[in-house]
Symmetry: D2
Subunit: 384 residues, 4 copies
């Protein structure tokens, strides 16, 4: 008989919605070795978490996340709370022997990340940080192709950019993501983190980095009725932005490839524009998230005169995750990247195996983020 796994979710906002969808959908589209029970969702506001439970498909809600972590029926703890609370919850969950899936970033800072890794490794529980973009089929295909030598045995360049435009207007008000004391980091940690993770996944470990960060709009309107530190008053109509608006940096990988990365929220017209290009000794790969069902591939050994970037529509049954979804040419969207991720996680939990990206990956990612930040502050190269 098929195993059953019971899940508890901590946090129910944007990521809680995306995660809940993935828990609901994974068993519908993948042939999984376990049935899932979506038992409890935890949050701070009793009314809102109860409504979230109903809307998102959980049996019950609670305002005490500890009762979820300690619930002996629960096998998996899924963490989607604000960044500064990940560590406490994850460490408790590890101590309780739960498998853990934690939204990125792993922790608020390096120290938290290290403690989290130590906790899960000591407890020996299956652990995963949710870098869902690894399981965009086109990205997973890129990984497979690179492993099989499709772009040669050596990588020269990794070039990536994550561009958005939602705060490019100076009249956009101060929100918590623009205050370092709440968000920890700005563009760099929020979206720059993704293209670092993709670089580590597809190319390898970084060895040294240097870059700059910039805050283009340093004062923004405060809003009437906003939260603490964000609220307009008679005496104060604008507040200070204390995080970076953009980050731009270069570096080297241990395998000799060179890196060029940029993240910004100030690129009008770019909505969730994650682009990368990888150039190797046998060819090149290019990707754009806004066309996430496609992968561009140039193969140097194609016949002379017939060479060109191939526009691969990554929707075939032979493509990663392709047989779970629709026929060729019927594309998938953003939330499927979570569903693909959670399907792999569920298999790993049943089999008791490691599943990438682990908490250790989350820690390594944080180390790169911290090194880039430090290089910008100290205006010098930082070795990893």
């Amino acid at each position: 008989m098929k195993k059953q796994l019971t899940v508890g979710l901590i946090g129910y906002n944007f990521m809680g919605k995306a995660h809940s969808n993935a828990w609901r959908q994974a068993p519908r589209f993948f042939s999984l070795p376990a049935n899932l029970r979506l038992k409890t969702v935890a949050g701070r506001s009793p009314d809102r978490v109860a409504e979230a439970a109903r809307q998102l498909g959980w049996e019950q809600s609670t305002t005490d996340w500890r009762t979820v972590v300690e619930d002996p029926e629960i096998d998996i703890i899924d963490i989607t709370t604000p960044n500064d609370t990940h560590a406490e919850i994850a460490i408790a969950a590890a101590a309780a022997g739960k498998a853990i899936l934690c939204e990125k970033p792993l922790g608020y800072d390096l120290a938290q990340c290290e403690a989290m890794v130590a906790a899960v490794e000591k407890a020996g529980v299956v652990n995963m940080v949710c870098h869902n973009y690894r399981r965009i089929p086109a990205v997973a295909l890129a990984k497979k192709m690179i492993s099989e030598g499709a772009i040669g045995d050596r990588i020269y360049h990794y070039r990536a950019r994550y561009a958005q435009d939602w705060i490019a207007d100076p009249q956009f008000p101060i929100v918590w993501r623009l205050k370092s004391e709440i968000a920890g980091s700005g563009t760099h940690g929020d979206i720059g983190a993704h293209i670092i993770d993709i670089g580590r996944y597809l190319v390898g470990e970084f060895s040294e980095v240097i870059g700059l960060t910039e805050t283009f709009i340093k004062q923004r309107p405060l809003q009437a009725g906003a939260g603490p530190g964000l609220q307009a008053s008679a005496s104060q109509e604008t507040g200070e932005v204390t995080v970076d608006d953009a980050v731009s940096w270069v570096g080297r990988f241990k395998n000799g490839a060179i890196a060029n990365l940029e993240a910004t929220r100030f690129a009008y017209g770019r909505k969730n524009h994650i682009t990368f290009e990888i150039n190797g000794s046998g060819g090149s790969l290019a990707f754009n998230f806004e066309d996430m069902n496609r992968l561009q591939y140039f193969r140097k050994d194609d016949p002379a005169g017939l060479q060109g970037f191939r526009d691969i529509l990554v929707t075939e049954p032979t493509h990663p995750y392709g047989d779970a979804w629709w026929p060729p040419g019927h594309i998938i969207g953003y939330e499927h990247t979570f569903t693909n991720t959670f399907a792999d996680f569920i298999k790993a939990v049943v089999e008791g195996t490691s599943v990438q990206p682990t908490f250790r990956d989350g820690l390594e990612n944080e180390r790169v983020l911290a090194a880039v930040s430090r290089s910008a502050e100290e205006k010098r190269w930082i070795t990893l």
Copy 2:
């Protein structure tokens, strides 16, 4: 208190999977005026339909669709069975006073379509034929823009193509879709129907048509173990393809626009390539399903020197269905077109209003299909 609507599904294959997903997902992403109960799925094979119920999220299964249609608890009948069975089920459901959502094509032939329209109009039940591509956000945006005059007050051209490649290999075997006695029609009715519906939706009614159909590969391998009429034997290794492989035609709309349409399963590299372009007196629109989150828009009144097709990424909250899904730049996929469709259908059922495309739209679509077929057979223009 919110109303509850109970659904019964007849048929559980490819379209049954897509429809079940839409029933499950619509209430999670849309604010609907009713809760949904997914009660019964009906199919011919007891084991397979029971497995489908489990996999797709239905409370129970049955091999007798009549018990579903007659179930007093059930409000909505969803029909995804083979084309030649739609009429009987829909007419029974109308007689039982159910709201009906029927997968396209509406019926097997014009006579069946007419009987179905008569039945739902007599019964006064909410009825919809599932032309889900109308609710691709980019297509719905095109409709809205045309209504608001974004491409002017007159349309000159509608040009559309639906291209696939899954039978382009002559070694691809005979399957039921290639036998007219089972499928009714070939490429024309299966996929050509979609671009006729989009034309009727965005431009208007056709007035006259002429075209050709072609069967490029007339004999294909039979398969050992295939169904009746498709099975290889010692004496017979190939069977005759009795439907069209491609259709290509031109015509006129009642409003003076001219039409050029093509559907084929013989275009290598085109997977689900639905493209259209509409040229009006104030601008142009262009679309490609394989990039279905985008709409191209040329506006003749843009300033001289700054004109060009705008590549609209149709993922903003202000776009049709945009507020139900993810933030800008986070694209959606094929199955969301069903979810958007079903959300509108549910609202119409609660409100008791008409919702396009109705069975009558399905009938009109069939009339165009039949006229094109006849024009090809008789090699002459057919007036609608």
Copy 3:
């Protein structure tokens, strides 16, 4: 010692400018077996033709084209005059034993074309009709690829469209191209002719056709000071458009492929948008003139999972005409298609060999044009 060829040009407007450029540039970029002397340009207005001679690089000008045709020093007659004058000039040039390069269309009607073919074949002179788009490198590459089997041994579909927008505005005035008594034909003969020629070049001969033509704007403003029949007066402010604005048709080739073609001047945003797609049993090719240095190629035998349209940048030395121009990635433009054409013509003149497209090609093209026109007038299929 290298041979010298002396050229006389009849006509000096738009096409005269493009042709003069090609005569000047061909020897600079190609290794030709002859030196060229650009001797005389002929035109009706003495002042304007003298100015053209100076601007375009001709030694002298004349208002009597017959003196050019009869000039014993001249080897090549290049005809770029209005369509209704091609025949008389070409027949005289053939009688004088000149090699002839004639701008398309070959003649004003079928009878003229037949007389022209008879004249050059009787005289045994090298003759070419200037369908310059055949020598776009990407189109020449397509020809070579098809010949070598790159898209298989059988072609299923030829689909082409030539779209412009320069008369889409109803306030655009009557010009000579919109009067059948002057222009002969409208969009069909002017630009539709090009995609017929490309179809004949790449796919083969047409066997039957049917289509429609349309004049969207039947009355347009007359202009003060315009030529006869185009001039506004106190009593008449608008004039009748007597040619087609658009043509749309389907047909069959003798080799079993099917055709779908459209030409229009009413597609806002399309400037010189010549697109075609060819689907064969081994792959597909697609082209867009506005990106004329590129050719899209899908090859069915690429490995599963790595298939996709290749975006070939046709600027390599191994590509047709590639070694005459710039390094890879340095694109060429519109007028280079003439230069490539003229280089081939010059070689043929020196070698005394036939060079495609011949006058006979021009005649065959005219036959297809006439058949489509007749099918539209008589509303029936026409067999070629």
Copy 4:
């Protein structure tokens, strides 16, 4: 009566061919205030320069460039010789009172550049460094649009990349461009220089920079029969590459924008891939040289829901240089960028006005190049 300008060209290789073409073509397509006489071309090999004179359209040739510079008939000296010879020739030409057009880079090093600027400014002669990409119509349009506020009053990002692939194969032999003692610099100075110039042209002056350079393939085959330092021998089959293969850097502009630039010859599939994107407070612009007739433009003030990057086909008569060439949609190519440049230069010579980019621009460009090189060598930020 129209003035006549007489030109002397020093150097006749790749750039000599491109420059000669521009001198020949400019008067054919532009209405210039002077006639041109192409008098003398100078080179080192008597036979080859004589052949070049004939092929490229010069009246005579010489092996002594000083006779050209001193020729009283000559008004303009055009320098296309190896980089280390520019200074001597230009300084002599300035002393002789000639207008000077010098191929980039201006000089071999900063000292030479400074001497050249001093010479032309002292002599008061019209001087231009040939950064021809400024006069790609799309780039000139970008300049105009930025000046007119089309992307707002503030620029946030300049991001550019110049990628090629011609030495990505490790078996590609040592050539002079890969030896620093001959070429001065590698990828950085050869192609990176162009995107620095575009940045200075469109955005402004750089204030500080930091980056890295890399030589991926440090040993390459020597060739039998190659020049000194490049020649294979019995004892030595490979030679050392002494220039950079790639450069990647970040920086700041004086106006507060941030910069990210990369140049490489190791990106398979990228042939002459010059891409840039500029994000401002009112919109964005994006460009790709391989589609050089297009400019992408996002305007933040377009109506909500109808926003998207506009794909501007820069071939309209209202576009920069558009009225000199062909009708809309008929694209131009690489060499036209020189013709546009030379037309502007000729006008400036006749009018005696300054014409950008001046030698001073060439010097400023060199300063940025040197700063980036130094930042890579010393691994620290360099202030400009």
